[in-house]
Structure formats: C-alpha cells, structure tokens
Amino acid sequence: MSTSLLIVQFFNGLQLGILLFLVAAGLTLVFGVMDFINLAHGVQYMLGAYFSVTLYRITGSFFASVLLALPASMLFGLLLEVLVFRHLYERDHLEQVLATFGIILFLNQGVKIVWGAAPLNMPIPDALSGSVPLMDGLRYPVYRFAIIGAGVAVAVALYLFVTSTRIGMLVRAGATNAAMVSALGVDIKRLFMIVFGFGAMLAGFAGVMVAPILSVEPGMGDQILILAFVVIVIGGIGSIRGAFVAAVLVGVIDTLGRSFTTDMLRLFLSPSAARAIGPALASMAIYLLMAVVLAVRPAGLFPAKGRA
C-alpha cells in the first residue's frame, strides 16, 4: 500500500464521485421536486455517451461532439418527459418504478438495435491527452483531471444557479413543498420540465465525459443508476449539497475500498481468506454505508427541509 497508489486511487475515486454527482444531481432534483422515481435516468447517461460517440464520428471533433451532445441529451429528456413521465407524476411510486423500468428495457434494447451490442470506443482528444506529474515518478492523466475540473465547475455553477436565481429559488421551494409552490401560482408544469431537461442534460454530460475512458455499451447506465440512487439516499433526497458530499464520499470509498480492502484484511486474516472476502466486502462497502446512514439518519445526511 504505497502513498503514490493511494494518491492515484484517491483521484480516481474523486473522478468517479464527480461523475456520480452529475448523474445524481438531476435525479435528486427530479426526485425532490416532483416526487418522481426515475429509473430511466441511467439510460440518459448511456444515451449521452452514445450521442457523443456518434457526433464525434460525424464531426471529427471532440469539443463539437460535447457541445452538440448536451442539447441532444436535453431534447431527448424533454421528449421522454412529454411523452411518458409527465403522466406519471401523480401516480404512486410503484407505478413510476414499473413504467420507468419499461423505458429502461426499451432504450437498452433500442440502443442495441441502433448501435449494435458491441462496445464502442472514442479516443481522448489530443488537447487533453498525456499526463501531468504529481510528484516524483507519479503521473496522472490530464483527461481525468479535466473530468474532475469540469465536474467541479458544473457543481459550482449548479450551486450558484440553485441558490441565487429565480428558477433556482423555485426549484428549492419545489423540493420543500411542491404543492404549496403550485398553489402560489407558479406554473409547476413548466418548472418540472425545466428541472427534468436539466437533469437529463447533466446525466448526458456525465455520459459524454466518460465516453473516451470507458467502453460505451448498452446497459452501461444501469450500474451508475444504482450508485446514483445510493448517493441521493445517503445525501438526502432533494438536496444538491447532500448529493455532492455523498457522491464524493461514495466515489472515494468505493474506489479505495476496491484497491485496499484485501490488503487491509490481510493484516488480521490469512491471505487466502482475505482474497476471498476482500472483493465482496469492497463491493458491499457503499451499500453498508447507505444502510448505516439510513439506520442512523433515516432521511439522509442533508434532508431537504419540510420532508419527513
């Protein structure tokens, strides 16, 4: 367990956390404002990645593909909202789960039909390739730093947007008590659409960012969806701040857990036992964290006010 490995893994964890935040931010807003469980949010992340790969193939430029993939993700999110989700806000959670599960099945398979089942790849742009030295003999890829930087920038922008614009104020009010906001004369449908489109775009942005470093394949959204749910439940539903803290926490714990649990178990277990238990414990770590948080604080770390 060397220091340099620890540092690298810490940055990897941070990067995962940032991506999780991008996905979870939209999810927690949709959840908090509309009381709507959107299982299909992970698919939007997947679609962001696919849009970006396709646009890259058409335009040949990474930055153009990023710029075009964002509105494409947003439009697709809005399309889904208008066609399906809008009719589900008043339904109970069970029906929302069922309908959005149907959307997942459809889109995962649809992606397979359109783009094929084989994973797609996308090169890292030249401007962001290479690596920077952190300390002696330790280098870290520029692109991963770019992800962290872009994610933090988005987080800051989102924070400013939510805390100091009028729409942001309505979003916060909606997360606290949507019915009251509606009763005060705010066009809640439009607010819902804005929040939804925004959430879809953020998820799509996360997908765009990972396209060059992960393989883009059907079902890639499912795993991150579950992680994002863990994040928003730990952070407290409806809370952006909670989502950020929890996302970084989950990202770092998951990544560090995967690389160091086995070694740490070796300190007090036989090597073979450590090898057997380590990976399982590492995969379970974040779920354990979530169970503990919920057992101690049933509404998450930063519960949005006014909710039980």
Binding site: L98, I103, L105, F106, A179, A276, A280, S283
Partner: protein, 411 residues
C-alpha cells in the same frame, strides 16, 4: 346418477362459499395443472418446464404481494431471497446433504435469517427509502454471491442433483416435480390468503391505510412489518429452493436487481390488492416473455412500451380490468344516489369522497384545501375519460359512498 348429482351439488356449494379471488385462483390452478397432461399427448417437456417456471415465480410474486399490496412496503430487492434460498439449499447439497430434511430447512432458514437481519434495518424506513434500502441489500447479496469462490463465484454453483426425498430421486421425474411445485403454490396461496384474513393481516392492512390511527389504537407498527417481511422473505426462499432444484443450478444472476424489477412487474401487471392477480400477472409476464422472445431477439423493445402502457391506461393491472368489467353498469338506485350527491354537494364533494376512497387525501394532507380543489378539478376534467376507461369502478365506488353518506345522515 344420484351420487353424481350430489357430488356436483357439493362442488357447487363449495364453490359458492369461495370468495371471488379464491375462485379465480382455483381456476388458474386448474389451468396450471394441465401442462403434464398436454405434453403426455403432444410429447416433449417444453410446456412442463415453462409451467414449472410460472408456478415458481408465482410463489415469489405472492410473497412479494404480501409486502407490496398488504403491507405497503415496496421491496426492490426481493429477488435476493430467490438467490438466498437457492444458495442455501445448493451449498448444503454440494456438501452431500441434498436431502429434503436438510436442504429445505437450509433454504428457508437462510432466507428467513437474511430477511430478519436486513428487515430489522429496512423496515424502520418508509416509502422511497424502503425501496432504496431493499435495493441496496439486494445488491449486497448479489455481490456476496459473486465472491463465493468455493461455491462457484460469478459462474454459479451446479447442484449435484435435485433434492432427495426420503433417499429417492423422485423429484428427478419432471411430472412429480411439476405437481410438487403446484402443491406448494396452492399451499402458499392458502397461507397468504389465511394470513391476510387473520388479525395479523388486518393489522398490516390497517397500518397501510392509516398508520397514525393504528398507533393510537395501541399497535406498534415495527414488529408487524418485520414479521411480514420475514414471512415474505421465507416464502420467496421457498421459490428459490424450487428454482434451484429445477435448474439444478444457482448463480448470482438470480439476485440481479432487474430480476427484482421483474417480480414487481409480475405483481403489478396482475394487480395488487388481490391474490389471484400476482399469479395471473406471473403467468402473463412469463408467457409474454416466452412469446415475444420467439418473435424477435429484440423483444424487450416491445415489452418496455407495453409496461408503460399498462401503467398509463390499465390501473390495477389485469385484476383491475377484470373488476371494472365485472362491475358492469350501475343499478338505478346507485345512479340516482350519485346524481343526488353531485347535485346537492357539487362535483367538489363527490371528488372529495372519491379521493378519500383512494386514500389520496392522506398523502396530500399537507395542503388539504389546495389539493382537494385541484383533485376536484382533475376529476371534473377527466370525468369523460374515466367513464370510458374502466371508470365504472370509480363511479360505483362513488355511488356506494353516496349511499352510505345518505344512510348515515338519515340516522
């Protein structure tokens, strides 16, 4: 002749004493008993294998209904119990202990223990948090299974053979296994049906309807919900035991979260609030899967939108549609009562009653005035739609409540 008639009469009397739900379930069980007979005529064991799957998942769906429909606990990690049950029996079988006397208790015990430990934490939460925490526990079970290196890990565990009954390989016979599964399904149905009718079941339903009131009456929710969770988990463990037996194999895929989602679909497609619904839902879902996957490899493209349509247009699933259809038209007295209510108290009050019957007001009690007005508007706006889309049920409920109100006022 006389005996034939008396038997028929006895059967008719017995049928009359059954509730609608029990009659529907009996019909389904009779339908499910057919595959071995059919395949002895047609040959091949395809129908038997499909039938076994349907019955096994129907047991799982019934156990989930005990949580979702009766206790108001939407478990999104229910498939974990399938896996835990199958692993429990599979692991003892791999040590040469695959007899019924050991493997079945191992499966049920493992599932019950898992339910007790996870339920102790999960049942403390409600609503969305319960959905998420059960999902988390399901994922944990999944990852534990993938790392069970001595028992196959990712690749799964192949059972040495099906469970031995009194030292014989009787379950190896597909027909015997089939009818065992059917008997267990019927047993599960009877058990859950009895449970719902019992004091325990009434308390559970009361807690779902109005928790605060039940607490005021002196009931503590926690032990009841935990007990329901453990019972449901154990029953699903039984389904897992059968599933492992059928395939003579168990793998972490049994516990995948999508499997949990499918179990929810089976329950909802059939219709919660009934017991024949989940069975019918399982049958429909697996048949749909079977048919569509023969049609095209991209069958999920068809299934997905179908689910959305079911949610949007068929509230209450298949059972809900049957109920609405069976409801038929209103009696004149009911229609008059309804019209009287609407005339006297306006659409607003009618809507008020309507949504109270659906317990929507409770959920929105925070802004009671605003919401009831909004719901009233909604009802008025959608009145036509409800009339067309199986809304007879709504009207019936409304009329029934109107009659009740009138009666109460006259006292």
């Amino acid at each position: 002749m006389a005996t034939a008639r008396s038997i028929r009469d006895a059967a008719a009397t017995a049928l009359r004493t059954l509730t609608f739900d029990q009659r529907m379930a009996a019909g389904l069980f009779a339908l499910m008993a057919l595959p071995p007979l059919l395949s002895s005529v047609l040959g091949g064991s395809y129908l038997i294998l499909v039938g076994e799957r349907v019955m096994i998942f129907a047991i799982a769906a019934l156990s989930l209904e005990l949580l979702v429909g009766v206790s108001g606990l939407v478990s999104f990690g229910h498939a974990a119990f399938l896996g835990v049950g199958a692993y429990g029996a599979g692991i003892v079988a791999s040590h040469g202990l695959g007899t019924l006397a050991i493997a079945l208790p191992a499966a049920l015990g493992a599932a019950a223990l898992f339910a007790l430990t996870t339920g102790a934490i999960a049942v403390r939460t409600r609503g969305v948090y319960f959905i998420m925490i059960t999902l988390a526990f399901g994922q944990m079970a999944f990852f534990v299974a993938t790392s069970l290196a001595p028992y196959g890990g990712d690749d799964g565990l192949t059972w040495p053979t099906r469970t031995l009954v009194l030292g014989t390989r009787i379950l190896k016979s597909e027909t015997a296994f089939f009818y065992t599964a059917l008997a267990l399904l019927i047993g599960t149905y009877v058990l859950v049906d009895r449970l719902i009718g019992s004091r325990f079941g009434r308390v559970l339903r009361g807690l779902t309807d109005n928790e605060m009131r039940m607490q005021a009456m002196g009931f503590t929710p926690y032990p009841y919900r935990l007990a329901a969770y453990v019972i449901a988990g154990t029953l699903c463990g039984l389904a897992g035991f059968l599933l492992g037996n059928q395939a003579e194999f168990v793998s972490p895929a049994y516990m995948h979260w999508q499997r949990s989602g499918e179990l929810i679909i089976m329950v909802l497609l059939g219709g919660t609030g009934t017991l024949y619904g989940p069975i019918l839902g399982t049958l429909s879902f697996l048949m749909l899967e079977e048919t569509l996957s023969r049609l095209t490899e991209h069958w999920k493209v068809i299934l997905g939108p179908l689910l959305v349509l079911v949610v949007l247009f068929a509230k209450g699933g298949i059972a809900g549609a049957i109920r609405a259809w069976q409801g038929g038209s209103m009696t004149p007295a009911q229609l008059i009562a309804l019209q009287a209510l609407v005339a006297r108290q306006g659409m607003h009050a009618a809507a008020h009653l309507w949504c109270r019957s659906r317990m929507e007001l409770r959920q929105r009690s925070g802004t009671l005035a605003a919401s009831s007005q909004r719901v009233a508007g909604e009802v008025a706006a959608r009145w036509k739609t409800y009339k067309v889309v199986g809304g007879r049920l709504v009207v019936r409920v409304l009329a029934g409540m109107a009659l009740a109100v009138d009666r109460w006022r006259r006292r």
